[in-house]
Structure formats: structure tokens, C-alpha cells
């Protein structure tokens, strides 16, 4: 630790924090102003708060549908990825499977590939190949839940592996000796001990799915559209309803803020594939 006046540091970090927070504050300012006031001289201060934009968003049936879709898709995807990731990590950590380290490394390459590259093949596969009779995965919630696995499942596996490796094998061996079935060992011995890691994984996969835009924008038209795509629909060349756009942004931002307060310490580890402990 270097010496120096601590209050200078406080001043410095206050300025940095203002720079970090100001854009988010400005989003809020725009969202609580009536449209007529927006184009008068922009002012940093809020004189009165006008909630109509939020009411308009909540009263809009299409946007409500998008919100429900976002909730269903991100929750379904988070549960699916955390469950499958848990099983996969149990297998990787407890069984002597041939080539399992290569499999472990291969999973992460799915996350590293730029998603833009997969827009066209996924679109073609969903609309033309992955279909049974009349049922196709295109523009369905279940389709989006499965597609989001390409980036969230590798993430779940990489964050859960250390958790599972950290649970002593002797515990499950003792349970097997007592005659427990594998299912019982997984659910009653390993699962309770892995719970903290599973919670963090569940929350972070949830927010990654909630935040996703590119795949949702290209692979859905109506039935499975999410809140992030709704946001871009409000930006048009003929004139954007800025207040509504800001209000949708705030609605999209709130879950991320809640998540942020819950797992703040784990965000950096999550974003660096576990290379850095936050």
C-alpha cells in the first residue's frame, strides 16, 4: 500500500464513479420526462418526475408479451443450463471418462465463437432442418432456450467444475458403501454441498440470457421476441419515442441491477472464464 492523502483518493474515485454512473442517471432522466420537454435545452437536474412512459410501456400488450417471453426464456435457459451443467460436471469430476479434459475444453470454444457468424446457419437450421412435421423450433421460446445453451451451458460447466471438484469424493463413496443409488448420491449428498456454486451459476446464466440481443433479433419474428428486441423496435428512422425507449431500457436494466447486488463478487470471475477471482 502506498501512502498519500487518502482524501485525494476519495475525490479521485468520486469523480470516476460519477463518470460511471452519469450515463445511467441520464437514462433515468430521459425516461421520466414528457416528450415536449425533451427537446428544450437538456438539463442535468430533474424538476419533476413524470411516470407516464413507464405506464405506457406496461399498458402496451406487445411489450408485456416481450417481457413475459424474456422472463420465460431466460428462466428456462438458466434452469436448463445449471441442471445440465451440474450433471456434466459431476460426470467430469467423478468418472474416469476417456478424453474428458478435451471435452471440457471443447465446450468453451462454443462460447468463444462470435455469435454473428452463427446467425445465418442457425436461422437456416431452425427454419428448414430442425423440424418435425408442422412443428419447427423457429420463433419458439423452447427454440431460444436451446440456442442460448450454446453460450450459457459452457459457462455453467466452467463455473461449476471447481465447485464439484471441491466436494470430497470420499463423501459419495461412503454413501455408495451404505447402499445409496447414484441418483440419491447426486441429489442428497452432492447437490446440497454444491448449492452456493449452483446459485451463482443460475443467477449469472439468467442475466446473460436476459441481456442477449443479437440471436433474439434475428431468430424470432413475433412469438418469442424478447424485451431487448422490443427496445430496438422503438428506434426507427422516422422518429424515435425517446421516453418509451428509455423506459424499456430501465425495465431491462432493473433485473441486471438486482443480480448485480446479489453476486457482485462473482461477476469478474464469470466474465474472465474463471481466470481471475474477483
Amino acid at each position: 500500500m502506498r501512502k498519500g492523502n487518502p482524501w485525494l483518493s476519495v475525490l479521485f474515485w468520486t469523480l470516476i464513479s460519477l463518470a460511471t454512473l452519469f450515463p445511467i442517471y441520464w437514462l433515468f432522466v430521459i425516461s421520466v420526462k414528457p416528450a415536449v420537454e425533451l427537446f428544450s435545452t437538456p438539463s442535468i437536474w430533474l424538476t419533476e418526475i413524470y411516470w407516464q412512459n413507464y405506464v405506457d410501456v406496461l399498458n402496451n400488450r406487445t411489450l408485456r408479451g416481450y417481457m413475459v417471453n424474456s422472463l420465460v426464456i431466460s428462466s428456462g435457459n438458466a434452469v436448463l443450463c445449471t441442471t445440465l451443467g451440474f450433471f456434466a460436471c459431476y460426470a467430469l469430476s467423478r468418472f474416469d471418462l476417456g478424453g474428458k479434459e478435451s471435452i471440457f475444453f471443447w465446450t468453451i470454444t462454443n462460447r468463444m465463437a462470435p455469435p454473428a457468424v452463427f446467425l445465418l446457419p442457425l436461422f437456416l437450421l431452425l427454419t428448414q432442418v430442425y423440424r418435425v412435421g408442422d412443428f419447427s423450433l423457429a420463433d419458439t421460446r423452447i427454440g431460444m432456450i436451446l440456442i442460448y445453451c450454446t453460450f450459457n451451458l459452457p459457462f455453467a460447466i466452467w463455473t461449476l467444475r471447481p465447485t464439484l471438484d471441491g466436494i470430497p469424493k470420499e463423501l459419495d463413496e461412503a454413501a455408495y458403501v451404505d447402499g445409496a443409488s447414484p441418483w440419491k448420491v447426486i441429489t442428497e449428498v452432492v447437490f446440497p454441498l454444491a448449492r452456493p456454486g449452483l446459485a451463482v451459476t443460475l443467477i449469472l446464466t439468467w442475466v446473460f440470457a436476459w441481456n442477449e440481443y443479437l440471436l433474439a433479433a434475428t431468430l424470432t419474428n413475433f412469438n418469442a421476441r424478447t424485451l431487448t428486441t422490443g427496445l430496438s423496435e422503438y428506434v426507427t428512422t422516422t422518429g424515435t419515442n425517446w421516453g418509451i425507449m428509455a423506459a424499456i431500457s430501465v425495465f431491462t436494466l432493473i433485473p441486471a441491477l438486482i443480480v448485480f447486488s446479489l453476486v457482485q463478487r462473482h461477476i469478474v470471475a464469470g466474465l474472465t472464464f474463471g481466470a481471475v477471482k474477483g
Binding site: 464513479s17 450515463p23 437538456p42 465463437a113 452463427f118 446467425l119 441481456n211
Partner: protein, 292 residues
């Protein structure tokens, strides 16, 4: 343990999903890229046409431009983030009240959806409603209009990326600096080394692995920036901010020329792999070997 079969059964759903939505699309896009295929064109069938799509990609001026602007964007954004992030991490290594509070605020942008970051910056920089163009013109008489000026639009996207991702670099650098042992620094001070010498000869070599890992992750992410730029500038004006991901989304995907679109996708994927591989082989692997 007992039966390997159980292990494979537990792994099977994961492998199946990643195969169907990760591997098959990859094989499929390579397959389509060797065909002339436009379902809404004169001939809606897939016709094998060797490497003609790739020949077109190489001479596609729009695509080459998008690669150039992407390279410039990645260079300016990632370099600034590394320098700024390191400086902020050093500033954090002192004792002062409220450290964890400031750290919390600094982490905030990391969890924000890129599309929301784009939206926030659009609200800040759109001339009629944004605070930034207003202040710049009132205080300095400077005209900021990212819808008109290519340079301003480019710089704004870089600044936006710096705002969004510098915290990641800061936090990884803090983690690296905190873990350093104090002895070499004390010894160097006793030996009379100045600050610059300590930085170049002790701090930098010791945190190099952390810097390289951060650089690797930031490069990979910066190369695929799409959402926030799409929201902020839509890739314009002209092609000033049409980075490769934006190019695929706006110019390639909406067209029904699937063979050609696939070829561009394959080339972008190939270039991404090459850049990451060069990074790994050139910078990270030799260091790890040196460590033993």
C-alpha cells in the same frame, strides 16, 4: 467410479445440445458456403459452385472496409482500456475510506446488456436530446453530431466501449496487483530503484500473465461487438462504424443470398480463430513455458 456408462449418460444431454446448436451449424455453414443458393432468386436450388463465394468475399470492398474499421476499433478500444484500467488499478492500491463502495460502483457497467449500453449512449449523444452535444457546443462551441461525422461516430463507439469494459480490466489488474508479494518491491527500494524502474523491471514482468489473459479476453470480445454499436450508430454514417458483426447483421443476414452470406461467416470465424491462435502462440504459450 462404478460404471462409466452413468458418466456418459450424465454428460449426454450437454453433448447433444452443444452438438446440435454448436457443431452442426458450423458444419452446415461451411457446406452452404460452397454453394450458390438463393431460395428467392432465379434458381432456388442449391448448386455447388466450388470456391466462387470465397473469391467474391476477397474482392468485396464493403467487407474489407468493415474488417479495417473493426481492426481500428479493437486497437483503440482495447489499448485505452488496458492503459486506463492499469492506471485505475494502481490508484486503487492505496488506503482510503470507502474502497469497497467505489469498487462496487465500478463493477456496475459490466453486468449491463450491451444493447442497453448502446441505448444509454444514444440518449447521451443524440444532438437534439443528448447532454454531451449540448455541453460541448455551449462550453467549447464544438459540434458533435454522430449521425453526420464519421470520425465522431467512430470515436463515440470507442469511448462507449471504454466506458463499458475498462472496469473489467481494472478489476483483473487489482486482483493481480493484490496478489503480488511485497519482498521484491522492498528490496528494489532499498537498492534505490526509482518508480519507473520498479514498474518496468518488477511490476510489469510479474503481472504479465494477468495482462495477457485480460488482453486475450478483451480482444475476443471487442472483435465481436455488435449490439451496442447497432443501437448507437447502426453502423453508420456510411460504413464508419460497420464492424464485422454489424456488417453481417445489417448487410449479409437480410439478403437471401445464403451461399455468399455463409462464406462471409466462415471467413470471419476463420479470422477470429487465427487472431486468437496467434495471440495464444505468440504471447501466452511462451510465457507459460518459461514458468516451467
Amino acid at each position: 467410479m462404478h460404471s462409466k456408462t452413468l458418466g456418459w449418460i450424465l454428460l449426454a444431454p450437454t453433448l447433444l445440445i452443444l452438438f446440435l446448436f454448436g457443431v452442426v451449424p458450423f458444419i452446415y455453414v461451411v457446406f452452404v458456403s460452397f454453394h450458390q443458393w438463393n431460395p428467392f432468386g432465379a434458381n432456388p436450388n442449391m448448386v455447388f459452385n466450388w470456391a466462387n463465394n470465397y473469391r467474391r468475399v476477397v474482392f468485396d470492398a464493403q467487407f474489407i472496409t468493415s474488417l479495417q474499421v473493426t481492426a481500428a476499433f479493437v486497437f483503440f478500444a482495447v489499448t485505452s482500456q488496458l492503459i486506463l484500467g492499469y492506471a485505475l488499478a494502481q490508484a486503487f492500491m492505496r488506503d482510503f475510506p470507502g474502497k469497497s463502495f467505489f469498487r462496487t460502483i465500478h463493477t456496475l457497467p459490466l453486468i449491463m446488456a450491451p444493447i442497453i449500453v448502446g441505448s444509454v449512449w444514444k440518449l447521451m449523444t443524440t444532438p437534439s436530446i443528448g447532454i454531451i452535444p449540448n455541453l460541448l457546443s455551449n462550453w467549447f462551441g464544438y459540434d458533435l453530431n454522430i449521425g453526420q461525422s464519421a470520425t465522431q461516430a467512430f470515436i463515440t463507439t470507442v469511448v462507449m466501449d471504454i466506458w463499458h469494459w475498462t472496469p473489467l480490466v481494472t478489476l483483473t489488474m487489482i486482483a493481480a496487483l493484490v496478489s503480488l508479494p511485497p519482498d521484491p518491491f522492498e528490496q528494489a527500494q532499498i537498492d534505490g530503484a526509482n518508480r519507473r524502474q520498479i514498474f518496468w523491471h518488477i511490476t510489469l514482468p510479474m503481472i504479465r500473465p494477468a495482462i495477457l489473459a485480460t488482453l486475450f479476453i478483451r480482444l475476443m470480445d471487442a472483435m465481436r461487438t455488435v449490439d451496442e454499436v447497432l443501437m448507437l450508430t447502426g453502423g453508420g454514417p456510411g460504413s464508419a462504424t460497420r464492424y464485422v458483426g454489424v456488417h453481417i447483421f445489417k448487410e449479409v443476414f437480410p439478403r437471401t443470398n445464403y451461399g455468399y452470406g455463409s462464406a462471409i461467416s466462415v471467413v470471419v470465424l476463420y479470422l477470429t480463430i487465427v487472431v486468437c491462435w496467434l495471440m495464444y502462440v505468440g504471447l501466452i504459450a511462451p510465457r507459460n513455458k518459461g514458468k516451467g
